[in-house]
């Protein structure tokens, strides 16, 4: 028997589903490979639905909605128009042939158009052959591959942090004495000599605060919970937080998403010369960093910025282009090898200031998008879904990658999507207080393709 692709078509109930009906009533032939799923709007088709279709063995996924301007909900299809191309490039980056996912528009009267698209898509998928997306845990043996693009190792320069430490302590003391803030979130050195987050509530404790080349944590992660309004309680006092240039951008994203008000946060922005990794070299994100001075900043802890080294190499870019040049099968092999290490400990999610949903979609009991298992399919869906949710929001602090106990290059996914968002919408997360472009409607910035 010849190969018959299985195609899942998400059809918007107002236009495309009716369009398919029109094709049927008019007796226009459409391929029998298509299984139609009726959705209220193409904007409803979340990446989880698409991935779950692929995870369950679909060879192709077709999403059809109303033409732009004809949406029953005015702008639902704008969201589909923005999101699905991003999802497609993410899936392609991890090894899916991009032709297996298609978004198009069919109105209620366009029976012929529906049939044409259905035939085209079915033939395109047929020519690709059976899909190898779903991993059978009983059969597959994972080979872990590394990329050949070599990370440029930059020894960490000698820096003097004493002046900055003093300035942070002094300002923190001042803010606490004046009662301007209720808490200062900064860094301290543990007994073991590790630099870690600390919370200072009184002026006497401010001597704990330090600044050094190991201040890696993005402290803004703690802000939403600390500034949350609680029923029957006084609104929390403003909080001062020590931020590096990269971290400061996450404040802008959180402001755009209304997690707190600007006056609730006092940013102690530190002019940063880069942060060390555990081996004493410059962290990858810092090698690529372009900002020496924080973008969101109420007090600038300047110190000496002369040793700041702007943009020396583009490590992540090389890795991304290496994956780009690989075949889909090689890309899939690479990512599966990486995701195989994942233990689903959620350290990446918890360390991320942008991952602040009250209940994570991938963890809620009634989520049928993804199983609870710690298997390859589930882990891949989690990581891709998380990367997608961060598209246009990730500020590139790369804390997820640092927090990962298994050393998975999660940052590559975020970096890839940041590039896609930049190309499509000219948007850089956190530079201004603006939401991710993929949650807003089209305003002419979107380029087809």
């Amino acid at each position: 028997m010849s190969y018959e692709p299985r195609i899942i078509a998400f059809l918007c109930t107002w236009c495309s589903y009716t369009g398919a009906d029109t094709a049927g009533i008019a007796r226009i032939k459409s391929p029998a490979n298509i299984r139609a799923i009726r959705v209220p709007c193409s904007g409803r088709v979340s990446p989880e639905l698409v991935m779950s279709a692929f995870n369950q063995g679909a060879d192709g996924v077709l999403v059809l909605g109303c033409h732009i301007g004809e949406c029953h909900y005015d702008t639902g299809n704008h969201r589909a128009a923005k999101r699905l191309p991003i999802l497609r490039s993410l899936l392609a980056f991890t090894g899916l042939e991009p032709e297996r996912l298609r978004l198009d528009w069919v109105s209620a009267s366009e029976g012929e158009r529906f049939s044409k698209i259905a035939i085209e898509f079915t033939e395109a998928v047929r020519s690709l052959g059976p899909i190898h997306w779903r991993v059978d845990p009983d059969e597959r043996k994972i080979v872990c591959k590394s990329l050949t693009a070599v990370q440029e190792i930059l020894p960490y320069p000698e820096t003097n942090c004493a002046a900055k430490t003093d300035a942070i302590r002094q300002k923190a003391r001042e803010l606490l004495v004046n009662g301007q803030v209720g808490c200062v979130i900064g860094y301290e050195t543990s007994q073991r000599g590790r630099t870690r987050p600390t919370f200072v509530y009184s002026p006497e404790e401010t001597d704990r605060l330090v600044w050094n080349p190991d201040c890696s944590n993005n402290l803004t992660t703690y802000l939403p919970a600390k500034l949350q309004l609680k029923k029957g309680k006084e609104p929390p006092k403003p909080i001062a937080v020590v931020v590096k240039p990269c971290d400061s951008k996450s404040i802008n994203v959180m402001l755009a998403e209304n997690h707190f008000q600007r006056n609730q946060v006092h940013a102690l922005g530190v002019a940063c010369e880069g942060i060390r990794d555990s081996e004493g070299n410059m962290q990858v994100r810092c090698v690529n960093c372009q900002e020496a001075v924080p973008i969101v900043c109420d007090t600038l802890i300047s110190g000496d910025t002369s040793s700041f080294i702007p943009r020396l190499s583009s490590y992540a870019k090389e890795e991304i282009s290496e994956l780009h040049n690989a075949t889909p099968a090689e890309r899939m092999e690479f990512w599966l090898g990486q995701f195989d290490h994942c233990i689903r400990c959620y350290a990446c999610r918890q360390a991320c200031p942008m991952c602040n949903c009250l209940v994570c979609l991938y963890e809620s009991d009634n989520s049928t998008f993804i199983g609870l298992g710690i298997g390859l399919n589930e882990k891949r869906t989690f990581h891709l879904g998380r990367a997608y949710h961060l598209a246009g929001r990730c500020v590139g602090c790369n804390e997820c990658e640092r927090a990962c106990p298994m050393g998975i290059p999660i940052g590559l996914l975020n970096q890839k999507l940041a590039e896609e968002i930049e190309a499509a919408f000219d948007h850089h997360a956190g530079l201004t207080v603006s939401p991710s472009p993929i949650v807003t409607i089209l305003s002419g910035e979107y380029k087809e393709g």
Partner: protein, 347 residues
């Protein structure tokens, strides 16, 4: 496994002999050993002994010289299928899916072996016996490797362990001037030993470089710290991820769920879970008895040093083996040794 051990012997083998012995094992059975895979060291299946991440032969790992994950995952994997359900019209078939392959684990550190021993208290020594754990335990032989030094975050000697403890192994290896002294600990271990080919020797001295011990609060004293303000202070930086629990050799919580494999085929799986997660303790109606992260972090320490030892009769021993993995992986710098020292001080 008691009487014949009385006549146990020791052998001296070289690195080459050890490697060819392991090659032989890997040919016939499943050999699991520490292996360097894309930047991290992990217990993985190896087909040849040169795939093993030999200490000193490979470059320094990201963390200490022990694998990131403990050997817990060999006996209690992250996800385990408990049975398969096949539905065909009116008929429903249940299919048992017991693991039944023989596994040899090489390079087990005493802290990890002790961790598995501690898990026995729950899975094997308390009814009902966990048949999955029991099968894996029965089919697995542990070849231990004594540590000569304590790593930067290790503290086994403070919680009652020893870096050369052979109690929970089947075979124990001690490094000695570039060679290895092999000790047969159990009958199961003796079965693997090529006694005819190897040179017999004495056990000799089994020295290791200890480091300063710190006092651990006794089990009976933990309840008095339950309401301490300390927990909310120490937990502020905690991110509520589960890295500490998942790398821990003795954390053993799991969740059970039925999932679809494909139309008409389902499986019941159990997968790791951890008290650090916010929804871990959620009950019907949405109430969360441990809603605050301070309560959740406190639970982790209480479980290690009070609940588990109390519930499963570990005596004075705690459920912490001092491997220090949780210290290494914590992205926010929560340090179990610091917590223990602070509690000891506050008493």
């Amino acid at each position: 496994m008691s009487k014949s051990i009385a006549e146990k012997k020791h052998w001296l083998i070289s690195q080459t002999e050890l490697e060819s012995w392991l090659d032989g094992i890997a040919n016939a059975r499943t050999l699991i050993a520490p292996r360097q895979v894309s930047g991290i060291m992990r217990f993985c299946q190896v087909e040849k002994s040169d795939e093993i991440a030999w200490h000193g032969k490979t470059q320094k790992t990201k963390l200490a010289s022990r694998p990131v994950m403990s050997i817990k995952e060999i006996f209690f994997p992250p996800t385990e299928r408990m049975f398969k359900i096949k539905k065909n019209r009116q008929e429903i078939h249940l299919e048992e899916t017991y693991p039944d392959w023989e596994t040899i684990v090489f390079g087990v550190r005493p802290c990890d072996a002790r961790g598995v021993k501690l898990l026995d208290a729950l899975f094997l020594d308390t009814n009902p016996v966990d048949s999955f754990f029991a099968r894996r335990r029965g089919n697995t032989t542990l070849i231990g490797l004594a540590c000569k030094d304590l790593g930067p975050t290790c503290f086994c000697t403070s919680v009652g362990g020893t870096p050369n403890d052979s109690h929970d192994m089947d075979i124990m290896l001690y490094e000695k001037d570039g060679d290895y002294v092999v000790e047969a600990v159990t009958e199961k271990g003796r079965f693997l030993i090529l006694s005819g080919e190897w040179k017999e020797t004495d056990l000799g001295s089994r020295q290791f470089n200890d480091k300063e011990h710190f006092p651990v609060p006794e089990k009976g004293r933990w309840p008095e710290h339950f309401n301490d303000e300390y927990w909310s202070r120490i937990s502020e930086r905690c991110l509520s991820c589960r890295a500490c629990a998942y790398v821990c050799p003795t954390c053993r919580c799991f969740s059970v769920r039925d999932e679809i494999i494909k139309p008409g085929e389902f499986e019941r799986i159990r997968c790791w879970d951890s008290c650090a997660g916010e929804n871990y303790r959620r009950v019907a109606g949405g109430h969360k008895p441990r809603a605050e992260k301070s309560e959740r972090l406190r639970n982790r320490f209480f479980c290690k040093f009070y609940y588990y030892p109390e519930q499963y009769g570990l005596g004075t021993s705690s459920a912490c083996t001092g491997c220090g993995r949780c210290i290494d992986v914590c992205p926010a710098g929560v340090d179990i040794t610091e917590v223990l020292m602070d509690l000891e001080k506050s008493a």
